[in-house]
């Protein structure tokens, strides 16, 4: 098709008409823009992977091990192969060349024990749900029917399920490895030169101060995104195309190439509409590799969509840590040292970043506080359970929970308000930038401001008064107030830092901006949203930067053919890193177009000012819009010889530091002391996430995060029975909260902008989840503390709360129910008292 000069003139006039009248900068950022992506989603015009139907497509069903640990002694696929409309039945033996590897991208130590994680196993299964065969049939129903006919003989092996049990090395998850211990990782402030010696601090406090020792349990959770995972592979083009419900299309493409031997250039990965992730879709999964292998084997498109039961068992789990904290303080409650011991259950394999997730806690247990001495010890262990990896917050919620719980214990010991003990220890706003005892440089923050605002919104003093009144009147329903003043590290991550941590990739992000001849703008981002609203937020950023209408910006993502470079979405990194890349691409576009504008205006580039989408010659009324420049460069009838036509630009941004959102969350819980049932009365949070691009989206992120964190405190737990069968294997038993379980929240923000990115943003995706869990449990414990209760193990079900109340004899003696100890002779969670000797019974 050719375009006549007349047509170009018409387009040019149209483009000029489209110039925004009020295009001053800063008009989009900060607006409560309704989301662009909603229109399709509210009308059902969606592109979920499971919607895809291709000619000749086969449907897959997986045959999974019902046993946690077993040797496979035989697989008979003959009956399945004979079933109606079955195209093929495959076992690992049918792929002698392998199917790829579910790689661990972050070996936390050089000697980490990392069992090979193959998509399909032929000799030994190491957890329930592992795939031993796959059936391809003409329909999903026929594939599932036939999968039932695959006859697998297993010899059961002893299984180890619990992290503490695994530590003993009595039953081995992988006998060939000789140990369940995967890696030990340590950070010591004295050794690192970032602080003092924690053992000395504790010893001194035992002499004259306070030592508090506590063990906490981070129960195992399931991310439980609403869209079950689905993968479609079309092997019929020059590039093999995989549509898959993933957060990480770019990383997946790389790892497919790296582990199957397929040239990376022959693989295209598309993340179409993706229905939630929360970390649960950042894995490269066995199902993706198997679907790819079967499609290539048959030369036909293949689809696999998991059932919810498969998802709960086989998509990675989260959390599952034992934590022991030893906190030393002076008698007035000034913390002098913190020692952390972790045992993290990785499940059967070290997942993509599974070993690294607990290690992220190393920089977070010290939280917002000025602790002079600190030590973090993390032991990861292998068990015969579903592999564990990032779940919303990934390492930071675990750390935040423990430190915010024990700060309450310190407050109780000193006999002051929990907020007062925090203020005594936190970094003052005038002390930023502040190098933490873990070696992180916190660039900005204002804990005083967020806390003051939260208290005001919460009605802190009034609720404390009500609590007192209920106590005094012996009300069977007691009121507890929970505090959580958290920080987190977001914006993963400076590539050099990741390199020092042996992480397998960088932490940069990429963006491209294409100015189209008609004045529209395409923004290509390497981030891969699945509910976060990048299309809307990135449009706001670009609209402001380039001075074009919000509606004229289209954000493209999640397809390696379009967004060819990227590191995807996780760790609250998209805006902080990816948004900054968008800003930089926009600035390059402005700079590139400037040279053309100068030429077209017959002016010197140095004399041009760019504002509101327009280049103006300083001191004159001469000027030209950037969209007009875009059209002129499309025609390129007239341009300087030293320039190339077009004003598109790419930018890749590698952050120089993490960002450190923080906030103060306050929760009031009513606890019925007769039944153990607790009910949320009020929840207020004031989060400081730096500058906000779209408050509407931010509020949504906070709300959703809060409920996931509250769910850990109150309801959710993935439970295996003694045989390693997942008892909570459906939504009947894995109890996601419903609308009827939750309340409306009060959310607000204070702002201390991040100093390390142009936009001053910090990230918000995980804040709610990180902060809310300890706020809720602190509230429940606070309601019952006068009964001598100082801990309740999560989830704080009515039964657990009731049992704690029944068991409390008035003394400070409530060990978390059923919780194994770090050492068999360790004291219960009894308060050790000011001497540190404790009064353990």
């Amino acid at each position: 098709m050719s375009v006549s000069p007349d047509a170009l003139v018409e387009i040019a006039e149209e483009v000029q008409d489209q110039q925004p009248e009020d295009s001053g900068s800063g008009r989009e950022i900060g607006n409560r823009r309704l989301r662009k992506e909603d229109q399709r989603l509210i009308t059902g015009r969606t592109k979920w992977t499971d919607n895809i139907v291709l000619p000749g497509m086969v449907h897959l069903a997986m045959v999974r091990s019902p046993f946690a640990h077993a040797r496979i002694t035989g697989i008979d696929t003959s009956a399945a192969a004979e079933a109606p409309n079955v195209i093929g039945v495959y076992t690992a033996a049918d792929f002698p060349e392998g199917l790829g590897v579910c790689a661990n991208a972050w070996p936390i130590t050089p000697d980490q024990v990392t069992p090979d994680h193959l998509p399909m196993v032929g000799e030994r299964v190491a957890c329930a749900g592992e795939i031993v065969a796959v059936v391809a049939a003409r329909s999903a129903a026929e594939a599932r029917d036939a999968a039932e006919l695959v006859d697998v003989d297993y010899d059961e092996l002893p299984a180890v399920l619990d992290g503490m049990e695994a530590l003993k090395d009595e039953v081995l998850a992988h006998p060939d490895k000789g140990t369940n211990k995967s890696a030990f990782w340590k950070l010591d402030s004295a050794e690192a030169g970032t602080g003092g010696n924690v053992d000395e601090a504790v010893a001194a406090a035992r002499e004259d101060g306070i030592v508090i020792e506590r063990e906490y349990r981070q129960q195992r959770l399931v991310p439980a995104f609403m869209e079950p995972r689905s993968t479609v592979v079309d092997p019929t083009g020059e590039q093999v195309t995989m549509w898959t419900s993933t957060q990480v299309p770019h990383i997946l493409r790389f790892l497919i190439a790296a582990t199957t031997g397929m040239p990376e250039s022959k693989v295209r990965v598309i993340a179409p509409d993706v229905g939630g992730g929360f970390g649960g879709k950042l894995q490269t999964t066995p199902e993706e590799f198997i679907t790819l292998a079967v499609a290539r084997r048959l030369g036909k498109p293949a689809k696999y969509t998991e059932t919810r039961s498969e998802s709960l068992l086989s998509a990675h789990h989260g959390r599952d840590q034992y934590q022991k904290l030893t906190l030393s303080a002076t008698k007035d409650g000034t913390v002098t040292g913190l020692k952390v011991d972790l045992v993290a259950n990785l499940g059967a394999y070290v997942a993509i970043v599974g070993g690294g997730v607990p290690v992220l806690g190393a920089w977070m247990f010290n939280a917002i506080y000025k602790f002079p001495a600190y030590q973090f010890n993390c032991q990861t262990v292998l068990t015969n359970t579903t592999w564990v990896d990032a779940y919303r917050g990934a390492g930071r919620p675990e750390a935040t929970y423990a430190i915010e719980r024990i700060m309450d214990e310190l407050a109780a010991e000193v006999g002051v308000d929990p907020l007062e003990i925090r203020e005594r220890n936190w970094i003052k706003h005038e002390e930023f930038p502040f190098t933490s005892v873990a070696g992180m440089v916190y660039d900005s923050g204002n804990y005083e401001a967020a806390t003051a605002r939260a208290k005001e919104l919460f009605g802190y003093d009034e609720l404390r008064a009500e609590q007192k009144a209920r106590r005094e009147s012996g009300d069977p329903v007691q009121l507890g107030i929970g505090v959580s003043t958290f920080t987190e590290m977001c914006g993963l991550a400076p590539s050099r830092v990741l390199g020092q941590l042996s992480y397998g990739a960088g932490g940069w992000e990429s963006a491209s901006i294409r100015m189209l001849p008609t004045g529209k703008v395409e923004v290509i981002t390497g981030t891969s949203p699945h509910g976060q609203g990048h299309e809307t937020a990135w449009s706001q950023i670009v609209a402001d930067r380039l001075g074009v209408p919000f509606e004229d910006v289209e954000v493209l993502h999640g397809d390696t053919q379009v967004a060819y470079k990227g590191l995807d979405t996780y760790g609250s990194r998209s805006l902080v890193v990816g948004g900054e890349a968008v800003v930089r691409a926009a600035d390059k576009v402005i700079e590139k177009a400037k040279a053309f504008a100068a030429h077209l205006l017959e002016a010197n580039a140095d004399d041009l000012e760019f504002s509101g989408g327009r280049y103006a010659v300083k001191g004159t009324d001469k000027g030209i819009g950037i969209t007009e420049v875009a059209l002129a460069t499309f025609a390129s009838h007239n341009y300087p010889e030293d320039l190339e036509p077009g004003i598109d630009a790419d930018a890749t941004y590698d952050p120089v530091n993490f960002s450190f959102p923080h906030g103060t969350h306050l929760c009031a819980m009513e606890v019925d002391t007769e039944t153990g049932a607790s009910r949320m009365r009020r929840y207020v949070c004031v989060d400081d996430i730096g500058h906000i691009i779209n408050p509407l989206i931010v509020e949504g992120q906070i709300h959703g995060g809060l409920v996931q964190g509250i769910a850990q405190a109150l309801w959710e737990e993935a439970v295996f029975d003694d045989n390693g069968t997942l008892v909570t294997g459906s939504f009947v038993d894995y109890t996601l909260p419903t609308a009827a379980d939750t309340i409306s929240f009060v959310t607000e923000n204070t702002t201390s902008p991040s100093t390390t990115n142009t936009l001053g943003t910090k990230g918000v995706g995980e804040a709610g989840t990180i902060a809310s869990t300890p706020a809720v449990v602190n509230a429940i414990v606070d309601a019952l503390r006068d009964r001598g209760i100082n801990d309740i193990q999560m989830p704080c079900t009515p039964h657990r709360v009731w049992s704690a109340i029944q068991g409390a004899g008035g003394a400070m003696a409530t060990p978390a129910e059923g919780q194994p100890h770090f050492h068999e002779d360790a004291p219960t969670n009894a308060d050790p008292g000011t001497t540190g000797e404790g009064s353990a019974q």
């Binding site: 969606t46 129903a141 609403m226 229905g275 709300h703 959703g704 009827a740």
Partner: protein, 160 residues
């Protein structure tokens, strides 16, 4: 195979289906009505909620043969003449969706709530949505959207 005739989003379809076929599979696989989605296998999540003769049902809980001779409305049949249903509009305006996977079921159920009670309290809205799971929004904005739709008179529209 059993012959069924079902009106879906105003169009009458006749198909032979296996007796075991669930309505949700019939909608997705036979009719391409993929706006209605599947989120679980135990009828807990409500993502597949549609209207059967004007009342909400979980389409995974109804056999296709049970829909024979009946009228089904899905999320794709709500907007009329290019105009969003007030409930769809309310979900958009109140940011009541993030990933959007639970949204079709949520909207269909929310409309049903207003059929019984045109001006429900927050507690009644929450109780009415109990059978629909959302993992993204924490329900806060969904409740707000349903409440706003009710105030804007969506209940009368829902009754049509």
């Amino acid at each position: 195979m059993t012959r069924i005739s079902v009106t879906v989003d105003g169009v009458k379809y006749s198909d032979d289906v296996e007796p075991r076929t669930l309505l949700v599979h019939y909608l997705r696989e036979n009719l391409g009505k993929v706006g209605t989605v599947i989120g679980c296998d135990t009828s807990n999540c409500g993502a597949c909620t549609v209207h059967l003769d004007g009342r909400s049902v979980k389409a995974c809980n109804v056999l296709a043969v049970q829909a024979d001779g009946h009228e089904v409305t899905t999320i794709e049949g709500l907007a009329e003449g290019g105009q969003l249903h007030p409930m769809q509009q309310a979900f958009h305006e109140h940011h009541a969706l993030q990933c959007g996977y639970c949204t079709p079921g949520m909207i269909m159920q929310a409309i049903d709530i207003l059929k019984d009670n045109a001006s429900p309290s927050e507690e009644q809205i929450r109780a009415g949505l109990e059978g629909n799971l959302c993992r993204c929004t924490g329900y806060h904005n969904i409740v707000k959207a349903v409440s706003a739709a009710a105030e804007a008179g969506a209940g009368s529209k829902a009754g049509e």
